[in-house]
Symmetry: C2
Subunit: 154 residues, 2 copies
């Protein structure tokens, strides 16, 4: 863990506010070098998924030419929200470091803690209903996947 890189993520997050974005930033680091940096662009890009970590993951994967962050560390100005933590688990970096907490983000007016609590609830009890609907063809995509030759697993 390099404290200077965490500080760099924090400074980038503060700077992003002055540029009209949300107060979050993240860096992807490989072999000690920053290979990608992301700042929150939700409102600037009209994209609710454009959190700093998502932006940084996508940029890092473009730089690496792959869809995994094997051997990389991710430095986040704030604890990743459930979306970003899920994205990080799909990207599979080596380690994730963060400074501020989800509670800090909640105190600043962001939904991170709320969403963490929502995901822990049974589906029927959530603020946005998440409803399973039985369909006889539901397994067809997975059957097609199983039958597909030369597929790229991820």
């Amino acid at each position: 863990m390099n404290p200077a890189l965490l500080r760099q993520a924090i400074e980038r997050a503060a700077e992003n506010v002055r540029c009209g974005g949300g107060p979050f930033a993240a860096l992807v680091v490989k072999d000690g070098a920053v290979i990608a940096a992301g700042s929150n662009r939700v409102t600037a890009a009209n994209d609710p998924t454009a959190h700093a970590e998502i932006v940084a993951i996508r940029e890092a994967c473009r730089a690496l030419g792959g869809f995994q962050l094997t051997g990389c560390d991710v430095y986040c100005s704030c604890e990743p929200c459930p979306m970003c933590l899920g994205a990080l688990f799909w990207a599979r970096p080596a380690r994730i470091f963060f400074a501020a907490t989800a509670a800090d983000a909640a105190a600043a007016g962001f939904d991170d803690s709320f969403i963490y609590r929502q995901l822990a609830l049974p589906e029927a009890g959530r603020a946005i209903p998440v409803i399973r609907v039985a369909d006889p063809s539901a397994q067809r995509p997975f059957e097609a996947w199983a039958a597909q030759p030369d597929k790229v697993r991820y």
Copy 2:
């Protein structure tokens, strides 16, 4: 809930496998009309965040010119993974419908269930370490946010 739209998402997911993608698709529906459709493009786009729901949310927001899916329904061929469910909670549609379950996805070789279990663990016990590092400047981005005039909340 319109069963024909759920079936359309399922068929799109199966079709996506034949096009070299993962077996997942999602539709965003407003006032009964499909305003965006997404298929999994993780390996095609070298983007671990390019799940069907994320692709559909981004396309729908572009179509709507905003960063919220107010009043929309989202139809998913499969239960959203934690990343996508987090993204949906940020996008705030009215309802989310899905056909196959996270367990079905796991049986087909996808990490959805694994990631759900990982996120429920304490940070120190996760397969990818998620480590809080104290930094005296950690709150500075939130202080900048609080002080920023005319900011766009999300």
